[in-house]
Amino acid sequence: MPAKFRRTSGNVLNNAPPASRLARVHRLLAWFWLALLLGAACWLVAGRADWVARVDTDLLALLPRDERRPMLEVALKAFAKQGERQLALLVSARDEALTRQAAQATRAALAGLGLTEQGGAMAFPGDFYFPYRHGLLTPADRAWLTGASTETATARALDRAYALFTLSNLPWQDDPYGFFGDWLQALGEATPVRPSGGELTVRHAGRAYVALIFTLPGSAFDADFQQKLLVALDDARERARALDPDARLLRAGVVLHAAAAARQAQGEMSLIGLGSLLGTFFLIGFVFQSARALTLIAASLVAGSIVALAAAFALFERVHLVTLVFGTSLIGVAVDYAILVFAQHLGNTEPVWDRFRRLLPTLSMVLLTPALAYFALALTPFPGLKQMAIFAVCGIFGAWASVVCFYPYLLPATLPLPKNADPLKRLLDRWPRWKNNGMAWTVVLLLVVVAALGIARLRANDDIRALFSGEAELIDEHRQVSEILRLPSPAQMFLVSGDSAEAVLQAEEALIERLRPLVAERKIGGFEAVSRWLPSAARQRENATLQERLRASGTRIAKALELPPDWHASAEKTEMLTPDIWLAAPMSAPFRALWLGATPDASGTPRHASMVLLQGLAGVEAAARLAALPSGDVPLPGVEWVDQTREISGLMARYRGLLVKTLLAACLAVPLLLFPFFRSRVWRIVMPVLAAGALTLAFMGCAGIPLQMLSILALLLTLGMGVDYAIFLQARQMHAHTLLATTLAASLTLLSFGLLALSRTPALHALGTTVTLGVLLSWLLTPIFLRRNP
C-alpha cells in the first residue's frame, strides 16, 4: 500500500529524524525497503497475474518426496499425472434399460464440458495377439500340457470340435485346444468391466452399473472447470433420479477432491482472513482510537502479505491453497509489531525517534523468536510445510521491516492513553503472583502431578491420513468406485527392476507365481502387471516348446477329422511378442504407465523397471505377507515392496522424534540466549511458556488428542510466541500500555489460530488447536511470574 505512505508523508517533517549517521543509514534502508515492496507488488501484479492458476489444491503435493528412490518417485509422479485427469462415474438404476437411460442422461448433462469419453468400443485384444498365440499360455494350461497324454490332448481338441459352442471367436482350426481362448479369457480377469451394447458395463453385488470413464480437457486443478463440473454432476444426478428415484451416481477422480478442497479452503480463507481482520481492526480501533493507527497497522499487514506472496510465488512454481489458509492465520502474529509500537506511544510525550530507538532491541527480539519457530517448519521433509515456513517467515519479516523502516516517519507524536486499559490493569493487580511459600509449592506439585498423568496418557499418531482428509461423501464414493471397478491402490505396490526389459518381465513372472496363491486365498483381489499382457521371451519360448508335445495328438486329430497331416504346422510358426511391439500397440495404452522403462541408476547404468499394482488389498495382515514376499524363503531378486502410506507415516514418526528433540533443545536454548539480557529474571520469562506447553500436552493426553508431528510444531510456535509476550512484559515492566499491547497481541493471535482450529483440513485443525491452547495458557500464566511493581 505505498500510496498510503505517500499521502501521510507530510509527517516526515513532524518527526524530523536526528541528523546522525545512523539515521542516514535508516533513511537509506527505508527507501530501499519501499523500493523492494513496490517492486514485489508490481512483479506480483504483472508477473503473476495468472496466480489463480498457480494455486495448488492437490493435497498430494504436500506429501514428502522419496529421495532414496528417484526412479520410483518419477514413476509415481507420472502415474499420478496420468490419473489426475481421469474422471470415473458409475451409473446404476433399477434395471438395465433404466441404467442405460441414466447413463445417457449423465452424458447429456456433462456435454459441453469438453470431456473425452473412453468409449465402449475397446480394441479387442484377440486381434492384436493372434500372431503371437503360440507363446501364450495360461498357468492352468501350462500345467495341463505338462501332464497331458496324447489321448487326453486328442480328446480335448475333438471335444471342442464337437462342442455346441465355445467362448472363442476364432475358427476351431486356429485354436483347436482352446489355449489361446483361455489366455484371452484370463486377460479379461484383469478388469470386471465388459463392453456391452455400446456401454462399458460392470456387475457388482447383484447390481448392474454402466461405467463412464472420461478424460478432462485440461488440468484437474483448473478452478473454473472444477466448479462447472460440480454443477454438471449435480445436474446429472438429478436427471438420473428423475428416471428412477433410487438411481445411483458414484463419482471418482482427483478433480472432485481438488474441487472440494478448493471450495473448502476458499471458505476457510475467507472465514479466517475476514474474522482476523475484523477482529484486529475492532480491537485496535477500540484500544488506540486513532484512524492513523488503524491505517498504519493495515499497511504493515499489506506489506507483510506482499513479501510473503512474492517470496512464495518466486520460490515455488505453485503455491498450495493450504499455505494460503495457514498464511491468513499469520495476521494475528504479524500485527504484533505494529501493536507494540503503538502501545508504547500511548500517553508518551518523548520524541518519536528516541522512543523508537529504545524499543528497537525488544522489537528485534520478538521478531527472532517466532521466526525461528516458524523456521522449524522448514526442517521437515514436507514440501507443503516448507512452503508454509517460508510464507510465514517472509510474511512476519515483511510486516516487521515495514514497521521498523517506515513507522518512525509516520507515527503520530503521541496517542492519548485510553481509559480501557484501567480495568485491565486492576485485573492484573489482582492476578495471583508467584510467592515462595508452601501454598504456591503445593499448587505447583499438584500441577506437576496432573501434567505428568496427562502426558503419560498421550498417544502418538503418525498416520498420514490423520493430516489430510477429503470430503467424507467423496471418499466413500471413491472407495465404492475402486471396489466395483477393482482399481488398484497406488499406495502399496511392488517395484520390479532389472538390467534389461527381459529381466524385469522374468522377475515379474516369478513374483506373480507367488501372488496367485494369495489371490486364491482372497488376500488380494488381483494384480496388474505388464507381464500379464507381455510374457517374457523366455516364457514365450517355454510355452512354444511345451506345445511341441502336441505333435502326436495332432496326427491323431488329423486322422479323425480327415485333415492334411501338416494341418497344425502353420500355428507353430508364430512370432515372438517383444516389449517394443507391445508398447507401440494401441491396446497397451491403459497399462503402459506400469512400465517404467530404463532409467540410469547411481552408477549411470540403465536399469529397467516396472510396477506391479494390487487390487483389493485386504487388511494389514495381507500387507505384511506381501511385504515379506521379496525377502522370503525363496527370495525374489529385483522385487521390492513399496508401501507409501507406511513409509510416509514412518517418516512422520522420525520427524516427530526429531522435532521433540528440537523442542527440548529450544527449551534449553531460549533461557541461555535470554540470560545476557535478563539475568536472574530469565526464569520469570521461561516458566510460563514451559508450564503452558506441559499443560497443553497434558490436556491433549486427557482429551485423547493424539500427538502428531504437527502438534510438536505447534508447541514450537507457542514457545516462540509465548516467550515474546513475557519478554515484552518483562522488558517494559508493568506499564498499563505494555499490558494492553500484550493482551491485544495475544488475543489477536488467539483469534487467528482459534479460527484456524475451525479448519476442516486436519493438519491445520491440529495446528490451530494446539497453538490456541498453548498461547492461551502461556498468556494466562505470564502475569503470575511478573515481578511486583516497585
Partner: protein, 205 residues
C-alpha cells in the same frame, strides 16, 4: 450325410431367398403364438458342425431337457459321452462324473451373454433373443422361421447369425459363428410335461 445336405440347402436358401427386413415384430408375435412353451420339454438331437476350412461334417447325437425357470441339460451320447448343464449364471460340463469345464458369470460376464443366447435358442425364449438381435423371418401356416443377427458389436464378434425353425416346437436351429463355424441342430421326438419331474429337478441342484 442327409442332415449335412439339408444344412447346406438351408444355408443356401437364406442367402438366395430372404433379404433381412429389420425388426419384423409381426413375425416374432406370430412365431410366439404358434410355439407351445411347456414347463418341460425333452427329446433327442442331432447336431452337425461344419467347421471353417474342414470338409468333414462333425455329427453328434444325444438327449436334451429344457426345464423352464431352471435351465437346460444337453447330453451328448455319441461320439463322446458328456453332459452340459446350463443355468442362468453357469455352464457346467461333466463326463464320467468329472468336471470338464465350469464357467460362471460371476467370473466371466460373457458367460451370462452366452447362456442367454443358448436359452433363447434351446428353450425358445424368443423375446430374450429379440433384445440382443435384430430379427426377420416368415410364417407359413403353422410353420415359422426366424433369423437373428446381433445388434451389439461385441455379440457380433461371437455370432454372425442364428436361425430358428419350428411350429409347435422348435425343430431346427442353426448357429453361424463369427469365425465361420456352422452348427446345425435338429430336434426329434420331443415330449412335454406340465410339471418338472423330481428327477430332473434334482439334476439342477
Amino acid at each position: 450325410m442327409k442332415i449335412f445336405k439339408r444344412c447346406l440347402m438351408l444355408a443356401a436358401s437364406w442367402c438366395l431367398a430372404t433379404p433381412l427386413h429389420a425388426a419384423d415384430a409381426g413375425v416374432l408375435v406370430a412365431a410366439r403364438e404358434r410355439l407351445a412353451l411347456e414347463p418341460v420339454t425333452q427329446g433327442e438331437f442331432v447336431q452337425t458342425r461344419q467347421l471353417a476350412r474342414i470338409k468333414k461334417p462333425l455329427i453328434s447325437t444325444g438327449r436334451f431337457v429344457v426345464a423352464r425357470g431352471l435351465g437346460v441339460i444337453w447330453e451328448d451320447i455319441a461320439p463322446f459321452a458328456r453332459t452340459m448343464r446350463l443355468t442362468k449364471d453357469e455352464i457346467l460340463q461333466t463326463a464320467d462324473g468329472q468336471t470338464l469345464m465350469h464357467l460362471s458369470a460371476d467370473k466371466e460376464p460373457a458367460v451370462a451373454a452366452v447362456t442367454g443366447i443358448l436359452f433363447g435358442v434351446l428353450a425358445g425364449d424368443l423375446d430374450a433373443l429379440a433384445r440382443g438381435f435384430d430379427h426377420a423371418g416368415e410364417v407359413k401356416g403353422t410353420h415359422w422361421r426366424l433369423d437373428f443377427t446381433p445388434r451389439d458389436a461385441n455379440l457380433a464378434r461371437l455370432i454372425r447369425q442364428l436361425t430358428l425353425r419350428g411350429a409347435r416346437d422348435i425343430e431346427q436351429v442353426e448357429i453361424i459363428s463369427a469365425a465361420g463355424d456352422v452348427t446345425y441342430i435338429e430336434f426329434k421326438a420331443q415330449t412335454h410335461a406340465r410339471e418338472i419331474p423330481a428327477d430332473i429337478g434334482k439334476r439342477f441342484e
